[in-house]
Subunit: 285 residues, 2 copies
DNA sequence: GGGCGAATAAAATTTCTATTCCAACCAGGG
DNA sequence: CCCTGGTTGGAATAGAAATTTTATTCGCCC
Protein backbone atom coordinates (compact mmCIF):
# COMPACT_ATOMS: atom_id res chain seq x y z
CA UNK A 1 0.00 0.00 0.00
CA UNK A 2 2.45 2.55 1.25
CA UNK A 3 5.46 2.11 -1.03
CA UNK A 4 5.95 1.72 -4.76
CA UNK A 5 5.25 -1.71 -6.23
CA UNK A 6 8.24 -3.48 -7.84
CA UNK A 7 7.91 -3.63 -11.60
CA UNK A 8 10.61 -6.09 -12.48
CA UNK A 9 11.00 -9.70 -11.32
CA UNK A 10 14.40 -9.01 -9.78
CA UNK A 11 13.16 -6.07 -7.80
CA UNK A 12 10.21 -8.04 -6.57
CA UNK A 13 12.33 -10.95 -5.45
CA UNK A 14 14.57 -8.62 -3.47
CA UNK A 15 11.63 -6.89 -1.86
CA UNK A 16 10.08 -10.16 -0.79
CA UNK A 17 13.26 -11.34 0.88
CA UNK A 18 13.88 -8.00 2.53
CA UNK A 19 10.38 -7.54 3.93
CA UNK A 20 9.93 -11.16 4.85
CA UNK A 21 10.44 -10.79 8.57
CA UNK A 22 7.96 -7.90 8.79
CA UNK A 23 5.15 -9.89 7.28
CA UNK A 24 2.45 -11.63 9.25
CA UNK A 25 2.56 -15.38 9.63
CA UNK A 26 0.19 -16.11 6.77
CA UNK A 27 1.88 -13.67 4.48
CA UNK A 28 5.26 -15.21 5.24
CA UNK A 29 3.79 -18.53 4.28
CA UNK A 30 2.77 -17.09 0.92
CA UNK A 31 6.11 -15.37 0.44
CA UNK A 32 7.79 -18.70 0.97
CA UNK A 33 5.58 -20.29 -1.64
CA UNK A 34 6.11 -17.44 -4.10
CA UNK A 35 9.87 -17.71 -3.85
CA UNK A 36 9.77 -21.47 -4.25
CA UNK A 37 7.17 -21.63 -7.05
CA UNK A 38 7.46 -18.57 -9.27
CA UNK A 39 5.98 -20.52 -12.16
CA UNK A 40 2.81 -21.20 -10.24
CA UNK A 41 2.62 -17.55 -9.35
CA UNK A 42 2.80 -16.67 -13.04
CA UNK A 43 0.42 -19.26 -14.42
CA UNK A 44 -2.09 -20.37 -11.84
CA UNK A 45 -5.23 -18.74 -10.49
CA UNK A 46 -5.61 -17.31 -7.01
CA UNK A 47 -7.72 -20.28 -6.00
CA UNK A 48 -5.11 -22.78 -7.18
CA UNK A 49 -2.21 -20.92 -5.65
CA UNK A 50 -4.13 -20.56 -2.40
CA UNK A 51 -4.75 -24.28 -2.32
CA UNK A 52 -1.18 -25.20 -3.09
CA UNK A 53 0.17 -22.77 -0.55
CA UNK A 54 -2.40 -23.93 1.99
CA UNK A 55 -4.06 -20.55 2.51
CA UNK A 56 -7.21 -18.70 1.59
CA UNK A 57 -7.54 -16.93 -1.76
CA UNK A 58 -8.10 -13.65 -0.02
CA UNK A 59 -4.71 -14.00 1.65
CA UNK A 60 -3.14 -14.00 -1.79
CA UNK A 61 -4.77 -10.67 -2.49
CA UNK A 62 -3.53 -9.30 0.79
CA UNK A 63 -0.07 -10.48 -0.12
CA UNK A 64 -0.16 -8.58 -3.41
CA UNK A 65 -1.42 -5.47 -1.75
CA UNK A 66 1.24 -5.69 0.94
CA UNK A 67 3.78 -5.06 -1.79
CA UNK A 68 1.95 -2.09 -3.19
CA UNK A 69 0.05 -3.70 -6.04
CA UNK A 70 -3.56 -2.86 -6.67
CA UNK A 71 -4.41 -6.54 -6.68
CA UNK A 72 -3.17 -10.00 -7.52
CA UNK A 73 -3.38 -9.53 -11.27
CA UNK A 74 -0.78 -6.81 -11.18
CA UNK A 75 1.56 -8.98 -9.15
CA UNK A 76 1.02 -11.88 -11.48
CA UNK A 77 1.92 -9.72 -14.46
CA UNK A 78 5.40 -9.33 -12.99
CA UNK A 79 5.83 -13.06 -12.59
CA UNK A 80 4.67 -13.54 -16.15
CA UNK A 81 7.26 -11.19 -17.57
CA UNK A 82 9.92 -13.09 -15.67
CA UNK A 83 8.76 -16.28 -17.30
CA UNK A 84 8.47 -14.83 -20.77
CA UNK A 85 11.86 -13.22 -20.59
CA UNK A 86 13.67 -16.26 -19.35
CA UNK A 87 12.01 -18.54 -21.87
CA UNK A 88 12.65 -17.78 -25.50
CA UNK A 89 13.02 -14.12 -24.87
CA UNK A 90 14.32 -13.43 -28.33
CA UNK A 91 11.46 -11.64 -30.01
CA UNK A 92 10.46 -10.27 -26.66
CA UNK A 93 13.86 -8.72 -26.11
CA UNK A 94 13.94 -7.25 -29.57
CA UNK A 95 10.49 -5.82 -29.14
CA UNK A 96 11.45 -4.22 -25.86
CA UNK A 97 14.64 -2.89 -27.38
CA UNK A 98 12.64 -1.32 -30.16
CA UNK A 99 10.11 0.19 -27.80
CA UNK A 100 12.80 1.54 -25.48
CA UNK A 101 14.97 3.07 -28.12
CA UNK A 102 12.63 4.25 -30.78
CA UNK A 103 11.35 7.10 -28.71
CA UNK A 104 14.77 8.10 -27.46
CA UNK A 105 15.86 11.35 -29.05
CA UNK A 106 19.14 9.98 -30.24
CA UNK A 107 17.54 7.18 -32.15
CA UNK A 108 17.14 9.33 -35.24
CA UNK A 109 20.81 10.26 -35.53
CA UNK A 110 22.92 7.96 -37.68
CA UNK A 111 25.10 6.80 -34.82
CA UNK A 112 22.00 6.18 -32.73
CA UNK A 113 20.56 4.08 -35.51
CA UNK A 114 23.83 2.24 -35.90
CA UNK A 115 24.00 1.46 -32.22
CA UNK A 116 20.48 0.11 -32.25
CA UNK A 117 21.21 -2.15 -35.17
CA UNK A 118 24.42 -3.40 -33.64
CA UNK A 119 22.62 -4.18 -30.43
CA UNK A 120 19.67 -5.87 -32.10
CA UNK A 121 21.88 -7.92 -34.35
CA UNK A 122 24.03 -9.03 -31.48
CA UNK A 123 20.96 -10.33 -29.73
CA UNK A 124 19.82 -12.17 -32.80
CA UNK A 125 23.24 -13.78 -33.21
CA UNK A 126 23.16 -14.84 -29.61
CA UNK A 127 19.95 -16.69 -30.23
CA UNK A 128 20.97 -18.06 -33.58
CA UNK A 129 23.71 -20.09 -31.97
CA UNK A 130 21.35 -21.50 -29.39
CA UNK A 131 18.21 -21.99 -31.46
CA UNK A 132 19.43 -23.90 -34.48
CA UNK A 133 19.20 -27.62 -33.90
CA UNK A 134 22.66 -29.13 -34.37
CA UNK A 135 21.25 -32.18 -36.14
CA UNK A 136 19.38 -30.05 -38.66
CA UNK A 137 22.44 -27.99 -39.34
CA UNK A 138 24.51 -31.11 -39.73
CA UNK A 139 22.07 -32.54 -42.25
CA UNK A 140 22.08 -29.30 -44.20
CA UNK A 141 25.87 -29.28 -44.36
CA UNK A 142 26.01 -32.90 -45.46
CA UNK A 143 23.35 -32.30 -48.05
CA UNK A 144 25.35 -29.48 -49.57
CA UNK A 145 28.72 -31.20 -49.28
CA UNK A 146 27.44 -34.37 -50.93
CA UNK A 147 25.96 -32.66 -53.94
CA UNK A 148 27.49 -32.65 -57.35
CA UNK A 149 26.45 -29.06 -57.89
CA UNK A 150 24.83 -26.52 -55.61
CA UNK A 151 22.12 -24.31 -57.06
CA UNK A 152 21.46 -21.12 -55.14
CA UNK A 153 18.19 -19.24 -55.23
CA UNK A 154 16.98 -16.13 -53.45
CA UNK A 155 15.15 -13.04 -54.60
CA UNK A 156 14.81 -9.50 -53.29
CA UNK A 157 15.91 -9.32 -49.68
CA UNK A 158 17.23 -12.86 -49.77
CA UNK A 159 19.41 -12.25 -52.77
CA UNK A 160 22.46 -10.91 -50.90
CA UNK A 161 22.60 -14.10 -48.88
CA UNK A 162 22.82 -16.39 -51.89
CA UNK A 163 25.07 -13.94 -53.69
CA UNK A 164 27.48 -14.23 -50.81
CA UNK A 165 27.27 -18.00 -50.82
CA UNK A 166 27.91 -18.16 -54.53
CA UNK A 167 31.07 -16.21 -53.95
CA UNK A 168 32.19 -18.11 -50.87
CA UNK A 169 31.45 -21.54 -52.31
CA UNK A 170 33.48 -20.53 -55.33
CA UNK A 171 36.39 -19.82 -53.01
CA UNK A 172 36.42 -23.41 -51.83
CA UNK A 173 36.07 -24.77 -55.35
CA UNK A 174 32.56 -26.03 -54.87
CA UNK A 175 30.45 -26.15 -57.99
CA UNK A 176 27.89 -23.46 -57.18
CA UNK A 177 25.42 -21.85 -59.56
CA UNK A 178 23.56 -18.70 -58.66
CA UNK A 179 20.06 -18.67 -60.09
CA UNK A 180 19.74 -14.95 -60.61
CA UNK A 181 16.90 -14.94 -63.11
CA UNK A 182 18.91 -12.68 -65.34
CA UNK A 183 17.04 -11.76 -68.47
CA UNK A 184 14.04 -13.68 -67.23
CA UNK A 185 15.84 -16.96 -67.73
CA UNK A 186 15.41 -18.33 -64.27
CA UNK A 187 13.49 -21.27 -65.64
CA UNK A 188 16.24 -22.01 -68.14
CA UNK A 189 18.87 -21.97 -65.44
CA UNK A 190 16.88 -24.17 -63.13
CA UNK A 191 15.88 -26.78 -65.66
CA UNK A 192 19.19 -28.61 -65.50
CA UNK A 193 18.93 -29.49 -61.83
CA UNK A 194 18.88 -33.22 -61.11
CA UNK A 195 18.76 -35.56 -58.15
CA UNK A 196 22.55 -35.57 -57.72
CA UNK A 197 22.52 -31.81 -57.18
CA UNK A 198 21.04 -29.80 -54.36
CA UNK A 199 19.04 -26.60 -54.28
CA UNK A 200 19.77 -24.07 -51.56
CA UNK A 201 16.88 -21.61 -51.39
CA UNK A 202 16.42 -18.59 -49.19
CA UNK A 203 13.03 -16.96 -48.81
CA UNK A 204 11.51 -14.61 -46.26
CA UNK A 205 8.15 -13.21 -45.54
CA UNK A 206 6.29 -12.17 -48.56
CA UNK A 207 7.98 -15.18 -50.23
CA UNK A 208 8.89 -14.28 -53.79
CA UNK A 209 6.96 -16.24 -56.37
CA UNK A 210 10.06 -16.98 -58.43
CA UNK A 211 11.75 -18.78 -55.56
CA UNK A 212 8.63 -20.83 -54.91
CA UNK A 213 8.59 -21.80 -58.59
CA UNK A 214 12.19 -22.96 -58.53
CA UNK A 215 11.54 -24.99 -55.41
CA UNK A 216 8.49 -26.60 -56.93
CA UNK A 217 10.43 -27.53 -60.01
CA UNK A 218 13.27 -28.96 -57.93
CA UNK A 219 10.82 -31.00 -55.90
CA UNK A 220 9.30 -32.46 -59.06
CA UNK A 221 12.72 -33.60 -60.21
CA UNK A 222 13.64 -35.08 -56.83
CA UNK A 223 16.36 -32.56 -56.21
CA UNK A 224 17.22 -32.35 -52.50
CA UNK A 225 16.29 -28.93 -51.15
CA UNK A 226 17.84 -27.01 -48.29
CA UNK A 227 15.71 -24.07 -47.29
CA UNK A 228 16.51 -21.05 -45.18
CA UNK A 229 13.30 -19.31 -44.14
CA UNK A 230 11.56 -17.49 -41.33
CA UNK A 231 8.77 -19.86 -40.40
CA UNK A 232 8.18 -23.61 -40.60
CA UNK A 233 4.82 -22.75 -42.12
CA UNK A 234 6.25 -20.71 -44.95
CA UNK A 235 5.22 -22.02 -48.35
CA UNK A 236 8.82 -22.82 -49.17
CA UNK A 237 9.29 -24.97 -46.07
CA UNK A 238 6.77 -27.52 -47.25
CA UNK A 239 9.06 -28.93 -49.95
CA UNK A 240 12.26 -28.76 -47.97
CA UNK A 241 14.50 -31.74 -47.41
CA UNK A 242 16.16 -29.76 -44.68
CA UNK A 243 14.59 -26.59 -43.32
CA UNK A 244 16.59 -24.02 -41.40
CA UNK A 245 14.47 -21.54 -39.52
CA UNK A 246 15.90 -18.13 -38.78
CA UNK A 247 14.70 -14.97 -37.11
CA UNK A 248 16.50 -11.82 -38.05
CA UNK A 249 16.07 -8.66 -36.06
CA UNK A 250 13.66 -6.02 -37.24
CA UNK A 251 14.10 -2.33 -36.53
CA UNK A 252 12.58 0.74 -38.09
CA UNK A 253 10.58 -1.58 -40.29
CA UNK A 254 13.73 -2.99 -41.78
CA UNK A 255 14.48 -6.60 -41.26
CA UNK A 256 18.14 -7.34 -40.90
CA UNK A 257 20.15 -10.01 -42.70
CA UNK A 258 22.85 -10.45 -40.14
CA UNK A 259 21.75 -13.76 -38.71
CA UNK A 260 21.03 -15.17 -42.16
CA UNK A 261 24.42 -14.12 -43.44
CA UNK A 262 26.11 -15.59 -40.43
CA UNK A 263 24.36 -18.89 -40.87
CA UNK A 264 25.14 -18.90 -44.58
CA UNK A 265 28.76 -18.36 -43.78
CA UNK A 266 28.91 -21.06 -41.15
CA UNK A 267 27.27 -23.46 -43.59
CA UNK A 268 29.73 -22.62 -46.33
CA UNK A 269 32.70 -23.16 -44.07
CA UNK A 270 31.19 -26.42 -42.84
CA UNK A 271 30.83 -27.59 -46.41
CA UNK A 272 34.43 -26.62 -47.01
CA UNK A 273 35.56 -28.60 -43.98
CA UNK A 274 33.54 -31.58 -45.11
CA UNK A 275 35.16 -31.42 -48.54
CA UNK A 276 38.58 -31.09 -47.00
CA UNK A 277 39.23 -27.65 -48.38
CA UNK A 278 37.98 -25.59 -45.52
CA UNK A 279 40.89 -23.41 -44.51
CA UNK A 280 42.38 -23.59 -47.95
CA UNK A 281 43.30 -20.29 -49.55
CA UNK A 282 45.13 -17.44 -47.95
CA UNK A 283 42.78 -14.70 -48.89
CA UNK A 284 39.42 -13.75 -50.18
CA UNK A 285 38.35 -10.40 -51.30
CA UNK B 1 -13.00 -33.24 -31.77
CA UNK B 2 -12.35 -36.51 -33.50
CA UNK B 3 -8.74 -37.26 -32.56
CA UNK B 4 -6.77 -37.12 -29.34
CA UNK B 5 -5.57 -33.71 -28.24
CA UNK B 6 -1.77 -33.30 -27.98
CA UNK B 7 -0.63 -33.09 -24.40
CA UNK B 8 2.94 -31.95 -24.82
CA UNK B 9 4.19 -28.77 -26.47
CA UNK B 10 6.29 -30.68 -28.98
CA UNK B 11 3.41 -32.89 -30.01
CA UNK B 12 1.20 -29.88 -30.39
CA UNK B 13 3.70 -28.04 -32.54
CA UNK B 14 4.02 -31.05 -34.81
CA UNK B 15 0.27 -31.46 -35.07
CA UNK B 16 -0.18 -27.81 -35.99
CA UNK B 17 2.41 -28.02 -38.72
CA UNK B 18 1.05 -31.30 -40.03
CA UNK B 19 -2.59 -30.28 -40.09
CA UNK B 20 -1.91 -26.76 -41.23
CA UNK B 21 -2.93 -27.22 -44.82
CA UNK B 22 -6.21 -28.87 -43.86
CA UNK B 23 -7.30 -25.94 -41.75
CA UNK B 24 -9.61 -23.19 -42.92
CA UNK B 25 -8.16 -19.81 -43.78
CA UNK B 26 -8.92 -18.23 -40.42
CA UNK B 27 -7.63 -21.22 -38.54
CA UNK B 28 -4.46 -21.13 -40.57
CA UNK B 29 -4.10 -17.52 -39.60
CA UNK B 30 -4.33 -18.50 -35.96
CA UNK B 31 -1.96 -21.42 -36.44
CA UNK B 32 0.53 -19.00 -37.91
CA UNK B 33 0.18 -16.72 -34.93
CA UNK B 34 0.43 -19.58 -32.47
CA UNK B 35 3.63 -20.84 -34.03
CA UNK B 36 5.13 -17.37 -34.08
CA UNK B 37 3.97 -16.22 -30.64
CA UNK B 38 3.84 -19.16 -28.26
CA UNK B 39 4.35 -16.82 -25.31
CA UNK B 40 1.21 -14.92 -26.12
CA UNK B 41 -0.65 -18.19 -26.42
CA UNK B 42 0.50 -19.13 -22.95
CA UNK B 43 -0.08 -15.87 -21.14
CA UNK B 44 -2.70 -13.78 -22.86
CA UNK B 45 -6.45 -14.04 -22.87
CA UNK B 46 -8.53 -15.15 -25.85
CA UNK B 47 -9.60 -11.57 -26.44
CA UNK B 48 -6.02 -10.30 -26.50
CA UNK B 49 -4.76 -13.13 -28.65
CA UNK B 50 -7.69 -12.64 -31.00
CA UNK B 51 -6.87 -8.99 -31.34
CA UNK B 52 -3.17 -9.57 -31.92
CA UNK B 53 -3.85 -12.27 -34.45
CA UNK B 54 -6.51 -10.17 -36.10
CA UNK B 55 -9.39 -12.61 -35.62
CA UNK B 56 -12.50 -13.05 -33.48
CA UNK B 57 -12.25 -14.58 -29.98
CA UNK B 58 -14.57 -17.35 -30.98
CA UNK B 59 -12.17 -18.32 -33.73
CA UNK B 60 -9.58 -19.03 -31.06
CA UNK B 61 -12.00 -21.47 -29.43
CA UNK B 62 -12.64 -23.15 -32.73
CA UNK B 63 -8.92 -23.44 -33.20
CA UNK B 64 -8.54 -25.20 -29.87
CA UNK B 65 -11.41 -27.54 -30.64
CA UNK B 66 -10.01 -28.32 -34.05
CA UNK B 67 -7.10 -29.97 -32.28
CA UNK B 68 -9.31 -31.98 -29.98
CA UNK B 69 -9.31 -29.82 -26.89
CA UNK B 70 -12.48 -29.15 -24.96
CA UNK B 71 -11.78 -25.43 -25.15
CA UNK B 72 -9.14 -22.80 -25.21
CA UNK B 73 -8.13 -23.19 -21.59
CA UNK B 74 -6.99 -26.73 -22.21
CA UNK B 75 -4.91 -25.64 -25.17
CA UNK B 76 -3.42 -22.80 -23.20
CA UNK B 77 -2.36 -25.19 -20.49
CA UNK B 78 -0.11 -26.93 -23.01
CA UNK B 79 1.52 -23.66 -24.01
CA UNK B 80 2.01 -22.86 -20.35
CA UNK B 81 3.88 -26.07 -19.68
CA UNK B 82 6.12 -25.28 -22.63
CA UNK B 83 6.90 -21.94 -21.08
CA UNK B 84 7.46 -23.36 -17.63
CA UNK B 85 9.73 -26.07 -18.96
CA UNK B 86 11.81 -23.80 -21.11
CA UNK B 87 12.23 -21.41 -18.20
CA UNK B 88 14.09 -24.01 -16.25
CA UNK B 89 16.09 -25.28 -19.21
CA UNK B 90 17.26 -21.89 -20.34
CA UNK B 91 20.13 -21.57 -17.92
CA UNK B 92 20.88 -25.17 -18.79
CA UNK B 93 21.25 -24.25 -22.45
CA UNK B 94 23.52 -21.36 -21.66
CA UNK B 95 25.67 -23.58 -19.52
CA UNK B 96 25.94 -26.13 -22.29
CA UNK B 97 26.87 -23.43 -24.77
CA UNK B 98 29.65 -22.19 -22.53
CA UNK B 99 30.95 -25.65 -21.75
CA UNK B 100 31.09 -26.53 -25.43
CA UNK B 101 33.15 -23.52 -26.28
CA UNK B 102 36.07 -24.90 -24.36
CA UNK B 103 35.83 -28.08 -26.35
CA UNK B 104 38.16 -27.58 -29.30
CA UNK B 105 37.26 -30.79 -31.11
CA UNK B 106 33.78 -29.46 -31.70
CA UNK B 107 35.03 -26.58 -33.78
CA UNK B 108 34.88 -28.65 -36.94
CA UNK B 109 31.24 -29.67 -36.57
CA UNK B 110 28.70 -27.40 -38.22
CA UNK B 111 27.21 -26.22 -34.94
CA UNK B 112 30.69 -25.57 -33.59
CA UNK B 113 31.49 -23.48 -36.64
CA UNK B 114 28.19 -21.64 -36.34
CA UNK B 115 28.82 -20.86 -32.72
CA UNK B 116 32.25 -19.52 -33.48
CA UNK B 117 30.90 -17.28 -36.19
CA UNK B 118 28.11 -16.01 -34.02
CA UNK B 119 30.55 -15.25 -31.28
CA UNK B 120 33.06 -13.58 -33.55
CA UNK B 121 30.43 -11.52 -35.30
CA UNK B 122 28.94 -10.37 -32.05
CA UNK B 123 32.32 -9.07 -31.02
CA UNK B 124 32.80 -7.29 -34.32
CA UNK B 125 29.39 -5.65 -33.96
CA UNK B 126 30.33 -4.50 -30.51
CA UNK B 127 33.38 -2.80 -31.94
CA UNK B 128 31.54 -1.38 -34.89
CA UNK B 129 29.25 0.68 -32.71
CA UNK B 130 32.19 2.05 -30.81
CA UNK B 131 34.70 2.52 -33.61
CA UNK B 132 32.78 4.48 -36.20
CA UNK B 133 33.13 8.20 -35.67
CA UNK B 134 29.66 9.72 -35.34
CA UNK B 135 30.63 12.77 -37.41
CA UNK B 136 31.88 10.62 -40.29
CA UNK B 137 28.75 8.54 -40.24
CA UNK B 138 26.64 11.65 -40.16
CA UNK B 139 28.42 13.08 -43.19
CA UNK B 140 28.00 9.83 -45.07
CA UNK B 141 24.28 9.79 -44.35
CA UNK B 142 23.86 13.42 -45.43
CA UNK B 143 25.86 12.81 -48.56
CA UNK B 144 23.58 9.95 -49.56
CA UNK B 145 20.38 11.66 -48.51
CA UNK B 146 21.24 14.83 -50.44
CA UNK B 147 22.04 13.09 -53.70
CA UNK B 148 19.78 13.04 -56.69
CA UNK B 149 20.69 9.46 -57.40
CA UNK B 150 22.78 6.93 -55.52
CA UNK B 151 25.11 4.69 -57.53
CA UNK B 152 26.17 1.52 -55.77
CA UNK B 153 29.32 -0.35 -56.61
CA UNK B 154 30.89 -3.46 -55.11
CA UNK B 155 32.41 -6.58 -56.61
CA UNK B 156 33.04 -10.10 -55.39
CA UNK B 157 32.78 -10.23 -51.63
CA UNK B 158 31.47 -6.69 -51.45
CA UNK B 159 28.66 -7.34 -53.87
CA UNK B 160 26.12 -8.65 -51.33
CA UNK B 161 26.46 -5.43 -49.37
CA UNK B 162 25.57 -3.18 -52.28
CA UNK B 163 22.95 -5.64 -53.48
CA UNK B 164 21.26 -5.32 -50.13
CA UNK B 165 21.49 -1.55 -50.21
CA UNK B 166 20.01 -1.43 -53.68
CA UNK B 167 17.06 -3.38 -52.38
CA UNK B 168 16.69 -1.43 -49.14
CA UNK B 169 17.06 1.98 -50.74
CA UNK B 170 14.40 0.95 -53.22
CA UNK B 171 12.12 0.24 -50.27
CA UNK B 172 12.33 3.85 -49.15
CA UNK B 173 11.89 5.17 -52.68
CA UNK B 174 15.41 6.44 -53.02
CA UNK B 175 16.76 6.54 -56.54
CA UNK B 176 19.46 3.88 -56.35
CA UNK B 177 21.30 2.22 -59.20
CA UNK B 178 23.31 -0.92 -58.72
CA UNK B 179 26.39 -0.98 -60.91
CA UNK B 180 26.59 -4.70 -61.45
CA UNK B 181 28.80 -4.72 -64.50
CA UNK B 182 26.38 -7.00 -66.24
CA UNK B 183 27.50 -7.94 -69.71
CA UNK B 184 30.72 -6.03 -69.20
CA UNK B 185 28.83 -2.77 -69.31
CA UNK B 186 29.99 -1.39 -66.03
CA UNK B 187 31.58 1.55 -67.81
CA UNK B 188 28.35 2.28 -69.65
CA UNK B 189 26.33 2.27 -66.46
CA UNK B 190 28.80 4.49 -64.65
CA UNK B 191 29.24 7.09 -67.35
CA UNK B 192 26.06 8.94 -66.48
CA UNK B 193 27.09 9.82 -62.94
CA UNK B 194 27.29 13.57 -62.31
CA UNK B 195 28.06 15.96 -59.49
CA UNK B 196 24.49 15.96 -58.17
CA UNK B 197 24.65 12.20 -57.62
CA UNK B 198 26.75 10.20 -55.21
CA UNK B 199 28.72 7.01 -55.55
CA UNK B 200 28.64 4.51 -52.71
CA UNK B 201 31.49 2.07 -53.18
CA UNK B 202 32.43 -0.96 -51.11
CA UNK B 203 35.81 -2.60 -51.52
CA UNK B 204 37.89 -4.92 -49.36
CA UNK B 205 41.31 -6.31 -49.44
CA UNK B 206 42.45 -7.37 -52.76
CA UNK B 207 40.39 -4.40 -54.05
CA UNK B 208 38.70 -5.38 -57.29
CA UNK B 209 39.98 -3.45 -60.26
CA UNK B 210 36.49 -2.70 -61.57
CA UNK B 211 35.53 -0.87 -58.41
CA UNK B 212 38.72 1.17 -58.51
CA UNK B 213 37.90 2.13 -62.11
CA UNK B 214 34.44 3.31 -61.23
CA UNK B 215 35.78 5.36 -58.34
CA UNK B 216 38.40 6.94 -60.54
CA UNK B 217 35.83 7.88 -63.11
CA UNK B 218 33.51 9.33 -60.46
CA UNK B 219 36.34 11.39 -59.06
CA UNK B 220 37.12 12.81 -62.48
CA UNK B 221 33.52 13.95 -62.85
CA UNK B 222 33.39 15.49 -59.38
CA UNK B 223 30.88 12.95 -58.12
CA UNK B 224 30.87 12.77 -54.31
CA UNK B 225 32.09 9.37 -53.17
CA UNK B 226 31.24 7.47 -50.00
CA UNK B 227 33.54 4.54 -49.50
CA UNK B 228 33.24 1.53 -47.23
CA UNK B 229 36.58 -0.20 -46.95
CA UNK B 230 38.92 -1.99 -44.58
CA UNK B 231 41.82 0.43 -44.40
CA UNK B 232 42.31 4.17 -44.67
CA UNK B 233 45.32 3.34 -46.81
CA UNK B 234 43.37 1.28 -49.29
CA UNK B 235 43.58 2.56 -52.87
CA UNK B 236 39.84 3.29 -52.86
CA UNK B 237 40.08 5.48 -49.78
CA UNK B 238 42.24 8.04 -51.50
CA UNK B 239 39.41 9.39 -53.65
CA UNK B 240 36.74 9.25 -50.99
CA UNK B 241 34.68 12.25 -49.96
CA UNK B 242 33.68 10.28 -46.89
CA UNK B 243 35.51 7.11 -45.90
CA UNK B 244 34.00 4.54 -43.55
CA UNK B 245 36.49 2.08 -42.20
CA UNK B 246 35.28 -1.30 -41.10
CA UNK B 247 36.80 -4.47 -39.71
CA UNK B 248 34.81 -7.61 -40.16
CA UNK B 249 35.65 -10.75 -38.27
CA UNK B 250 37.78 -13.40 -39.92
CA UNK B 251 37.51 -17.08 -39.16
CA UNK B 252 38.66 -20.19 -41.01
CA UNK B 253 40.13 -17.83 -43.58
CA UNK B 254 36.73 -16.45 -44.32
CA UNK B 255 36.10 -12.84 -43.71
CA UNK B 256 32.59 -12.14 -42.51
CA UNK B 257 30.22 -9.50 -43.85
CA UNK B 258 28.17 -9.02 -40.74
CA UNK B 259 29.57 -5.68 -39.65
CA UNK B 260 29.47 -4.32 -43.19
CA UNK B 261 25.88 -5.39 -43.64
CA UNK B 262 24.94 -3.87 -40.32
CA UNK B 263 26.55 -0.59 -41.20
CA UNK B 264 24.93 -0.61 -44.62
CA UNK B 265 21.58 -1.14 -43.00
CA UNK B 266 22.06 1.61 -40.44
CA UNK B 267 23.10 3.97 -43.22
CA UNK B 268 20.09 3.11 -45.31
CA UNK B 269 17.69 3.70 -42.44
CA UNK B 270 19.44 6.97 -41.62
CA UNK B 271 18.99 8.09 -45.21
CA UNK B 272 15.36 7.12 -44.96
CA UNK B 273 14.92 9.12 -41.76
CA UNK B 274 16.66 12.10 -43.34
CA UNK B 275 14.31 11.89 -46.31
CA UNK B 276 11.34 11.55 -44.02
CA UNK B 277 10.40 8.09 -45.19
CA UNK B 278 12.25 6.10 -42.62
CA UNK B 279 9.67 3.90 -41.02
CA UNK B 280 7.45 4.02 -44.04
CA UNK B 281 6.15 0.67 -45.18
CA UNK B 282 4.70 -2.09 -43.14
CA UNK B 283 6.74 -4.87 -44.60
CA UNK B 284 9.80 -5.70 -46.56
CA UNK B 285 10.68 -9.00 -48.08
C1' DG C 1 -26.99 -17.02 -61.07
C1' DG C 2 -29.41 -19.18 -57.17
C1' DG C 3 -29.45 -22.22 -53.46
C1' DC C 4 -26.89 -25.10 -50.14
C1' DG C 5 -23.47 -25.94 -46.59
C1' DA C 6 -19.53 -24.63 -44.24
C1' DA C 7 -17.13 -20.93 -42.03
C1' DT C 8 -17.22 -16.86 -39.62
C1' DA C 9 -18.71 -12.76 -36.78
C1' DA C 10 -21.39 -10.86 -33.24
C1' DA C 11 -24.31 -11.17 -29.43
C1' DA C 12 -25.81 -13.66 -25.43
C1' DT C 13 -24.84 -16.76 -21.89
C1' DT C 14 -22.50 -19.15 -18.53
C1' DT C 15 -18.69 -20.05 -15.81
C1' DC C 16 -15.16 -18.83 -13.15
C1' DT C 17 -11.98 -15.59 -10.80
C1' DA C 18 -10.44 -11.69 -8.34
C1' DT C 19 -11.81 -8.97 -4.99
C1' DT C 20 -14.47 -7.03 -1.10
C1' DC C 21 -16.49 -7.21 3.28
C1' DC C 22 -17.46 -8.51 7.69
C1' DA C 23 -17.60 -11.62 11.51
C1' DA C 24 -14.56 -14.31 14.15
C1' DC C 25 -10.12 -14.70 16.03
C1' DC C 26 -5.84 -14.08 18.47
C1' DA C 27 -2.35 -11.71 21.22
C1' DG C 28 -1.01 -8.36 24.51
C1' DG C 29 -2.15 -4.42 27.96
C1' DG C 30 -5.05 -2.32 31.10
C1' DC D 1 -11.43 -10.53 32.37
C1' DC D 2 -12.37 -7.60 28.75
C1' DC D 3 -10.98 -4.37 25.57
C1' DT D 4 -8.15 -3.15 21.31
C1' DG D 5 -5.04 -3.55 17.52
C1' DG D 6 -4.21 -6.17 13.88
C1' DT D 7 -4.99 -10.62 11.33
C1' DT D 8 -7.58 -14.29 9.27
C1' DG D 9 -11.34 -17.20 7.04
C1' DG D 10 -15.08 -17.53 4.27
C1' DA D 11 -19.37 -16.03 2.14
C1' DA D 12 -20.96 -12.46 -1.14
C1' DT D 13 -20.16 -9.65 -5.13
C1' DA D 14 -18.77 -7.55 -9.21
C1' DG D 15 -16.42 -8.26 -13.20
C1' DA D 16 -14.14 -10.58 -16.78
C1' DA D 17 -13.29 -14.42 -19.47
C1' DA D 18 -14.54 -18.59 -21.98
C1' DT D 19 -18.00 -20.63 -24.31
C1' DT D 20 -22.53 -21.25 -26.69
C1' DT D 21 -26.00 -19.62 -29.62
C1' DT D 22 -27.66 -17.12 -33.32
C1' DA D 23 -27.10 -14.47 -37.70
C1' DT D 24 -24.60 -13.52 -41.47
C1' DT D 25 -21.28 -14.10 -44.95
C1' DC D 26 -18.70 -16.62 -48.09
C1' DG D 27 -17.56 -20.08 -51.39
C1' DC D 28 -18.94 -23.73 -54.18
C1' DC D 29 -21.69 -26.79 -56.98
C1' DC D 30 -25.56 -27.47 -59.77
Amino acid sequence: METQAPETPGELQRRILADYKNLSKRLQQIAQFAVDHPNDMALETTATIAERAGVQPSAIIRFAKAFGYSGFSELQRVYQTRLAESASSYSERLRRLRRDEENATESVTPQGVLRQFCQANRISLEHLAADIAPATLERAAQCLAGAQRIYLCGQRRSFPVVAYMAYALGQIDADAVLLDGLGGMLGQQAVRMNAADVLFAVSFHPYAEETADVIRRADEHNVPIVVLTDSPLSPVAAHATVCLEIHDAELHNFRSLTASMCLAQALTVSVGLALGRGDAESDNG
